[in-house]
Symmetry: C2
């Protein structure tokens, strides 16, 4: 099936899923939408995030994708069921893949989760983990400062390290043996997070795990592409394209072209 | 969906999948069939393995399972398509989960695979890996002596270490960065394999990865069990039950009861 996989996020975070998709499924074409004009989604209300997600899906569906990937934990937490009701193609979120990988990884049964305010407030990870394994213990921590740092392209800065340290402080000393990076922006900060948490805590990237689950689902639905050609991916963003392009090219290690999208809908900002 | 997951193998190897199922999906009931009377499958012809697999599936289907797991790489390699045509429930093999995990893990794109004669001869891993990622390079090695060692319960013995060393000799020095344990018996020997391959080669257990994929597929088909009760698993084997029981209890760290099954079909042995 030669159609593209449509990936969306509040901004650049979903590029961590795209990078893994490009690596794990090199034949699959990706179309990406980063809603940078309205990022971050973390502090917004559930209703607002649902409206935004619906708008992006309506935009992406015109390209006739074979699958929608909500590569944003906040949007997955509050909007995935709504989107599933609206489209007839598979809709994949980033929460259950990370939950499943954490359950596979943990030996102690005690798991940490970090995410945006919206994600942590939704309890979506606790729900996903306990749906599969009722006795899992979870320590969750909202880290509202991290995604905005990544959106500004500041993930290498000293100030980023300080903010990571501060954000994770509550988790130090907790008996967790793995930590779910419950925001697709966090793999940009993985070195700092790893340094703070130490070698005994395995980090689970919801981005890497989602790419793997997409691979599983495409195979089991007989939807893998069989083209031998390398795909040309397409990128859209609603905000300033130059910063998005710089972050994307730096992260994906590839030249890309960006199509700016101006929302025709009233901007609630 | 409260029905059981039916798991089959040539002998005790599939217990590595069961152990991970019990850990990753503690609410799911398992019924297991080990065809110990006709183990090993590795040296047998594809036709013979297909016939045996079909017989076991016919036996298990009477319990009305919700899914069939072919927890044997040799049988997956040659019989999964045949079984898929015969039953209306999902049929999961152990080859693609391992392939997908290896693709997620490798950084060099060079992957090693060990398995039985039958598995390696089938080229099923090369096919699975290249279906997803055409440029993956694969080094395969048949290790026909390993599964029979495990079936005899000798996985802790010094002689097992020697046989592991000998079996893996051809892979030492190859530029692989991960090695797929392409036989569900091999996790019993993981310490010896890990010691021989060294710390730079990540071992991928097709058993662990299959349990995780089962979790994914049950969720996406809305087939996870919602019972709050701990399930009572059932075990069947076609050969001598005492050795099977000893190995199973030792591996699963649980008391189990075994129902011996005498094949009513002509035994080709």
């Amino acid at each position: 099936m030669q159609q593209a996989i449509a990936v969306l996020d509040s901004g650049v975070g979903g590029l961590t899923v795209v990078k893994e998709l490009m690596r794990q499924l090199p034949q699959e074409k990706v179309i990406y939408f980063g809603d940078t004009a309205r990022s971050p989604y973390g502090p917004r209300s559930a209703g607002e995030v649902r409206t935004f997600t619906r708008q992006i899906v309506e935009y992406l569906i015109q390209f006739n994708p074979k699958m929608i990937v909500i590569a944003c934990n906040t949007a997955t937490a509050v909007a995935i069921e709504d989107i599933r009701e609206r489209v007839s193609i598979p809709v994949i979120g980033v929460i259950l893949p990370g939950a499943r990988a954490a359950i596979k990884t943990t030996r102690s049964g005690v798991i940490g989760v970090i995410g945006t305010d919206g994600t942590i407030r939704s309890n979506a990870y606790e729900y996903a983990l306990r749906l599969i394994s009722p006795n899992i213990q979870v320590y969750s921590e909202a880290c509202p400062l991290l995604a905005p740092f990544v959106e500004k392209g500041l993930f290498g800065a000293d100030s980023a390290n300080e903010v990571v340290e501060q954000s994770l402080r509550q988790l130090i000393g907790k008996p967790i043996d793995c930590l779910i990076l419950g925001c697709t922006h966090y793999p940009f900060l993985v070195e700092a997070i790893s340094r703070v948490m130490g070698p005994d805590v395995t980090l689970i990237s919801s981005a890497d795990e989602t790419a793997r689950e997409i691979s599983t689902i495409l195979y089991h639905r007989d939807m893998l592409t069989s083209s031998g050609q390398l795909p040309i991916h397409q990128f859209f963003c609603s905000g300033e394209p130059e910063l998005f392009k710089r972050i994307a090219q730096n992260w994906l290690k590839e030249q890309i072209s960006i199509t700016p999208v101006v929302w025709q809908v009233p901007n609630i900002l």
